[in-house]
């Protein structure tokens, strides 16, 4: 179809609002993007609990103890991740972890480390290994604990 007499005009869509919107979406995803902490293992499926309180992120010094479905402690060390099963292995690992934190605390002029031990155990793990880890952590000297669970939303 020709438009007689009209000058040729180029129809360009206005991309600026589109760009604005896309940038806002990018900003949204950047903000809600859950940057998982190195110490939190995504393979651990936590049990559900309706009475669990939102995790307190203000704790400065924490020791995450991830326990897999087989009840093995997934110990993160300099050489990589190691699966600890036996009592003596867990005992040695936790005692060493406590000693390191104790030395750091003393260097800061504190008497004891203010470390919170956070147990992240898989729901399918047996209770005995989780209990043993708790007991060993206490024996190593740790004094603060938390059990982690997925907050069950009330219907």
């Amino acid at each position: 179809m020709s438009h007689g007499g009209s000058s040729e005009s180029s129809a360009e869509p206005n991309l600026t609002p589109l760009l604005d919107m896309v940038l806002q979406l990018v900003m949204f995803f950047m903000l809600v993007c859950n940057f998982t902490m190195e110490q939190v293992n995504e393979d651990v499926k936590l049990p559900l609990a309706s009475q669990a309180k939102p995790a307190d992120k203000a704790e400065a010094d924490v020791l995450y103890l991830n326990v897999n479905g087989k009840g093995q402690l997934m110990a993160r060390e300099a050489e990589g991740e190691r699966l600890l099963t036996t009592g003596p292995e867990i005992h040695t690992f936790l005692t060493r972890a406590y000693r390191e934190r104790e030395a750091t605390a003393k260097a800061k002029g504190l008497t004891d480390p203010n470390t919170v031990v956070i147990i992240r155990a898989h729901g399918d793990a047996d209770f005995a290994p989780v209990f043993n880890i708790l007991r060993e952590a206490k024996q190593a000297g740790f004094k603060k604990w938390q059990l982690r669970a997925t907050i069950l939303r009330k219907e």
Binding site: V26, L46, L48, G123, F127, A128, L147, R148, A149
Partner: protein, 171 residues
């Protein structure tokens, strides 16, 4: 400054299309890497002080020595959770027994635990209305222990402790 005579007026336009392309790529990246993880919460539990349980020096650490550390509270109510050991449903709950000063009661499943504990807590036999302990067999799945703990908190108990599994030594 005077415009040069005869030259067409310059129109500066910012090339938005490549910027939009790049932004779309960023958006795609974030959409693909975004996975909303379940909200993690913390369960409070109490452990009584047990003196100097830890070794003083590294040399004093004897990994073969069994720990004497108790994780139990001085409570009047104990929830005993027993595990199924039939080779098929191992780790599920076979029985839930509540021990009180007036005796033992079989609650059977965890579903009725909250109401039962609420009734017990309101009875006059129970003077310590804050503390409760859970004694689960070693093979009970951790998820059921947390479920029981959840129900204890729901029933109004503030401090939940753990007793050593009664069959721990035999495993």
């Amino acid at each position: 400054m005077r415009k040069r005579q005869g030259s067409p007026e310059l129109e500066v336009t910012l090339p938005i299309t490549p910027m939009l392309d790049m932004t779309f790529q960023l958006l795609t990246f974030f959409i693909f890497t975004y996975h909303p993880s379940a909200i993690e919460g913390q369960m409070e539990f109490s452990l009584p002080a047990s003196g100097e349980a830890r070794a003083r020096t590294e040399a004093d650490v004897d990994p073969n020595k069994p720990s004497e550390t108790e994780l139990a509270l001085k409570s009047q109510i104990t929830v005993v959770i027993k595990a199924v050991r039939d080779g098929i449903n191992d780790g599920t709950v076979s029985a839930v027994v509540v021990q009180t000063p007036s005796g033992e009661s079989d609650v059977r499943t965890l579903a009725g635990l909250t109401e039962f504990l609420q009734r017990q807590r309101s009875s006059q036999d129970i003077t310590n209305k804050d503390d409760i302990q859970i004694q689960a067999e070693s093979k009970v799945r951790y998820a059921y222990v947390i479920d029981a703990m959840d129900r204890c908190v729901k029933a109004g108990f503030k401090h939940v402790g753990f007793s050593p599994p009664p069959d721990l030594a035999s495993n």
